[in-house]
Amino acid sequence: MRTNYVANAGVRFNVFSQDQLEEMFNGVLHLLMYTGLDVKHEEARDILAKAGAWVDGERVRLPSYMVKDALRKAPRSFTLWARDGNPKHNIHIGPGRAHFGPGPTCTHFIDPETLERRPYTKADVPLVARLVDALPNIDFCESLGTVGDVHFDLGALYEFAGMFPNTSKPIVAWSYDKYDSAGIHEIAVAEAGGQRAFEQRPNYVHYCEPLSPLVSTFEAIDKLIFAATHRVPLVFTPCPIAGGTAPITGAGIITMGAAESWMGLTLAQTLQPGLPFFMGGVFSAMDMNTMILAYGAPELPLYMAGLTELAHYAGLPLWQTGGCTDSKTFDGQAMIEGAMSVFFSALTSGDLCHDVGYTESAMTGSLFQLCAMDEAIGYSRRIIRGIEVDDDTLAVDVINKVGPNNHYLRQPHTRKYYKSEYFYPKLLDRQDFENWESSGSLTMKQRTVARVRDVLATHKPSQVKPETMQVIEKVLAEAEDRVKDKK
């Protein structure tokens, strides 16, 4: 027992001071009150106007009490549930907890057999979901691609239909429009056992993306309304590009991007008080030479860390970004960029960190990047767990007992802690030269490829209920029918 003794449960890290956070928080409120956003959805403007917003044409300005009220209603802590009830696959959102998963909508994919870059197809979806299901440090699922070999309007629906039976980890689902959203929801509700059961234990999160700068697009808002009225936890994630669609300074992009999220927050909490809501998203630099949105730039983890602190200051969970790269292949660049952003994300405990497995600046999804980052996340999680200090870990008695010129390998203390104290790598090599050579002189890439292929060949996720499979088939058939005359 001790009095007034403060312990750090993990490694401490922060970007902003309390004063800076207060200044930025009020900057966002100021921006929403005096500049406002264009909300390209008439019904949403009516709802917001009725709730107290100032509406001029498409421009919606929010008096700050409305935003504060929405922040008060939104929960900081809640659970996303594994569809099969596996407690290891539940995600508990709350302070100090970082979770990781892939991103959506890359047009291309690294073929797991040929290792060549090619368009993403329907057949790739189950592979991603099964790998996600198996990797110990990947917590939620997105598909790493836009399904290219189905009707243009049905990519998102086929994606969810392919992911849902192949992982029981919670899924974050994007969609083109509310028809997709409805189909996705029907599948998830079937498995949950009805709308009411779903509301109590949601097994997926709905993803919407507004436009920077300062536009709430019709589709984003339309999907938000669907999610809010059906009580689906929501990610509302802008993708502002510093120097392009956002101010070039970190403080500027964070303030503006937060305002874009909080317009969605205010609408969502007006429609459904208490709806779990993640502010987002991907905040990074436009490369001033190539004009790409840089997924490997140091500004991405830095801006995302700042944004995470602002979100947590405001009492919201964050949709983080990391584990991604601008590299076109599995190389040193991919590992540096991916590992650094993953580590930073873990340090901030941004609540759901997505885009793990993105390569080529989000153009190409890679199972191999995802698998290597699983290792980087495990590594990072070990560091952020910090150093525990108590009588037992200080080991004064053990040091005294072993004394000089002896060793600790046979101590019960060593046996008690060696598993929990260390991170045991699955891909990083620590053999001596001879053993490394005799086991084939394998590089990190070769070991990663082998692990991915091994998981894909052996891992079996838990099955969905038979009636859910029927619902999936029905939803896809109805969707095909809906678009059959559309080009």
């Binding site: 390998l409 060696y418 598993k419 001596d432 030269f433 001879e434 053993n435």
Partner: protein
């Protein structure tokens, strides 16, 4: 009877030293021969330990627990084995070479060799080449194990091997070397017969030398 042997190999695998004396006594009391206890019980467990360690499914602290369980069993079994005229699989002389005071790694190799069924003679650290020669003459081991921890002392391994050659004893022993700065290439250069990168690998090498693995 075979169930008891199975229990024994499992207890070795689980590193349950406190269970071993009773298990061995019980098996002997039931009429199982000491040789059978060793070969079909204890060594079966230790072999599995080796397999799991190499596969990365067991780690050094667990391997040592198994070796300790083996030692605990051997305390009871050794007199019985001697009485029945059973020979251990071989004899290993271990020492840290001249100028080097580090003996942790060497001690671990010793434990693992005992676990593998060897009689181990530990001649300590900072061992002069002459003392290695003397030990070969006195103990007549099949295997000599030398350890060095430092780049400055690893040369002494070469000097020791040379001294053994000059004494005309080189053909009588297999020599294995190990230690932090040592590798297979160095072992070859100084004329050793093999190199073990860690304690279980050292014991495995010794087994190979006597044709037991």
């Amino acid at each position: 009877m075979s169930k008891l042997l199975e229990k024994m190999s499992t207890a070795i695998l689980e590193g349950e030293a406190e269970k071993m004396p009773n298990l061995v006594k019980k098996a002997l009391a039931e009429g199982t021969s000491a040789k059978e206890v060793l070969e079909n019980g204890l060594l079966v467990g230790m072999q599995e330990v080796g397999v799991r360690f190499r596969a990365g499914d067991m780690f050094v602290p667990e391997v040592l627990m198994s070796a300790e369980a083996m030692q605990a069993a051997m305390v009871v079994l050794r007199p019985e084995l001697a009485a029945s005229g059973h020979k251990q699989i071989g004899k290993v002389v271990l020492g840290t070479v001249k100028g080097d005071l580090h003996d942790i790694g060497k001690n671990l190799v010793g434990m693992m060799c005992e676990g593998a069924g060897f009689e181990v003679v530990d001649i300590g650290f900072n061992v002069e080449p002459e003392n290695f020669i003397e030990a070969i003459k006195n103990h007549q081991p099949e295997v000599i194990g030398m350890s060095a921890m430092l780049t400055t002392t690893m040369r002494a391994m070469g000097h020791t091997i040379k001294a053994i050659e000059e004494a005309g004893l080189r053909d009588r022993v297999k020599i294995m070397v190990g230690g932090a700065p040592v590798d297979a290439e160095f072992a070859k250069r100084i004329g050793a017969d093999g190199y073990g990168s860690n304690a279980p690998a050292g014991a495995e090498l010794a087994q190979k030398f006597v044709g037991a693995a």
